[in-house]
Symmetry: C2
Subunit: 438 residues, 2 copies
Amino acid sequence: MINFSVLEVKGRITSKWCDLKMIAELIMVGTELLLGEIVDTNSNYLAEELAAIGVDLFYVTKVGDNQQRIARLIQNAFTRADIVITSGGLGPTSDDLTKEAAAEALGRDLVLCPKALKSIEARFQRMHAAMSQNNKRQAYLPEGSQALHNPKGTAPGVLVETQDGKALIMLPGVPVELKAIMRDSVIPYIANKAAGANGIIFSQILRFYGLGESRLEELIKDLLVTQSNPTIAPYAGSGEVRVRITAKADTQETAESLIAPVEKELLGRIGEYFYGYGEAGMETVVGNLLINKGQTIAVAESCTGGLISNLLTNVPGSSDYYMQGAVTYSNLAKETVLGVDPRLIEDYGAVSEQTAKAMALGVRQWAGTDIGLGITGIAGPGGGTSAKPVGLVYFSLSSSEKEIVDKRVFSGDRLQIKERAALAALDLVRRHLLSLGN
Amino acid sequence: MINFSVLEVKGRITSKWCDLKMIAELIMVGTELLLGEIVDTNSNYLAEELAAIGVDLFYVTKVGDNQQRIARLIQNAFTRADIVITSGGLGPTSDDLTKEAAAEALGRDLVLCPKALKSIEARFQRMHAAMSQNNKRQAYLPEGSQALHNPKGTAPGVLVETQDGKALIMLPGVPVELKAIMRDSVIPYIANKAAGANGIIFSQILRFYGLGESRLEELIKDLLVTQSNPTIAPYAGSGEVRVRITAKADTQETAESLIAPVEKELLGRIGEYFYGYGEAGMETVVGNLLINKGQTIAVAESCTGGLISNLLTNVPGSSDYYMQGAVTYSNLAKETVLGVDPRLIEDYGAVSEQTAKAMALGVRQWAGTDIGLGITGIAGPGGGTSAKPVGLVYFSLSSSEKEIVDKRVFSGDRLQIKERAALAALDLVRRHLLSLGN
């Protein structure tokens, strides 16, 4: 239907843009958002995607499941934006009212969309589940709408074009569904709408681990001040920082040639913290390195309780290099499973450099892998002492050539300490793999 | 200053309310919020606090650092709310424009507030830092304002009362500062404003696993239609559904007596899916049951890759019942670690009822625990066949008295299948524990 090319280079989307900047507005629907029960991450995702294709965003509004209020917001949004995107309120229950509100705002009826109904029915058949009358409601769309295929759920997205060339796009509130429809249908649509485009926006994300956002900003302050094309935007991720370099140009080649010197300058300054490009997280980077270096890994976890294995196995295809893991929470498990000497634990404690080393070696021998990783620490809230406080974590990596041991003290609550320790452990593996010859 | 009591029962907050419900509106200021660089958690915190003191919230808007747009939003908010709270834009730099916008919206001048200036100066003295001219800007407030002490930072909060008895409250965007001013000044102020308060709002959350949101709504539709006091609100969580019952009454006792029959009615209809109250997730419920029944557990995971162990060990104190876990991704690991008979895997496959049972038994014997849990399946995206599709998962629980085995087919992507399988496995453990005598 739409002839639109999306190029993916090092993980970032390149898309058409036009000088006449489009303005978008977001309406996030759901009473739960107004009760503080759910953190709205959808609007951040949408804001980032819109920024990446050069669309301006001036307002984001959260509103409850109230038809009249949603309708008024949609009307108001069209007084100041070209594209209005809603999230949520497309579900099967009676408090899902976004389509009703849209119909009210646009003065149209809700009519049955046979294509949407078919797709919903097919989904229930695949799941061998009975379809309720409520689910049929999800196939009613404002007159003149187009259903946007939802590869991840029941509710289709909805696109309605107004007579003055503006567009209302309704997306489900479930993040994986919203993202899938954005990627497959909405981003291509918006980019195509910016017709007559005679240039592209190209952006590159660099990911860094091990330095904070304010330190990063200090180190590249002069670049941030003088930037114009490309622009440089640092932002904090979970336990890491990212820098997005965005160039506008006539061709991708030109955009890349604008970005290259800036990327080089950045890496010259903070390259030691750089770990990857684009959307690939640390576990993916480590996974790719394991494949490239032909190495296998096994993990013995105490304080991280399975999180590192869980992250590694989140990557499709990880069974090629991840062989097995042990969560040895009790001392007995450390001894019987990993062969950690009980006297070691007695002399130095379960949370010690010595135990971490014995765990790494033990898990490598137990699993017969190239690399063994051992993590032991105190995730809290209990169990800390002044000598060994909550947040103290020992890491060890064992391979046939060498043995590494590292110690860190993390701040935060139990879950944050687990997360930070897991990321640090994966970074240790990454650095080890980089140090290997090919 | 204000005598205000907050009670916590079964995890839910009970607080004062008044019949004349106040309506609040939030305006979150900052261009970074519109670029998706920062997840706005302030509005969630504010929404929760307002809900807890019985103040209604209908709209939350995010807007950039643009004086005119902020001013228009403030004016618009006062057409539909009694209290308008802004977050952000009180800093010392030239793009901090919230007070300027407020002055414009209210038709007042910005004047130097000597009290605010003194407090800023004192802060710089304590920090032994030089105060810039920009920081002095932070002491200029709209005429007739009151500075709200900021114990955590430089920018004071600002309270402006309008002639028709409404209030504009401006808070800094830094979460710790915003929270401190809310707690010390704003919540007492709002609670006091709801003068003549003579009652409480009490709410109870029931959590259900194993039925979808639309099915739940069908089963309790008549209750949802006729509700008034208490109100009943279902909402979907991650892989589960929750129902919040909220009562208004003079005393907590009365509120509880209003909720009790509704809770009983709900449990009479969908009690088989009920698993817990309030904020405690499935892993916490299972953890508490393990403690109560004096049982220990070990987990052998294949497709969930460590997620179940990770969830169980997210609970503080889990080392009392969670002993150890194995992530046996490879067939060899299943055989050598858990003692799964290689012929079993050859005959029935690694993803089979037989292998799941052998894993559960194997991990129980290996760890010497009361319960062994074994999970094997296909998380995808690769590895599926028509006989064994992506999403197929076998679960088994082994104890000295019995052996349970279950089979499910989950939809979703790799991470969703892992999550859904982990939740189903924990529910299997929960049901087994409930079936045990004390």
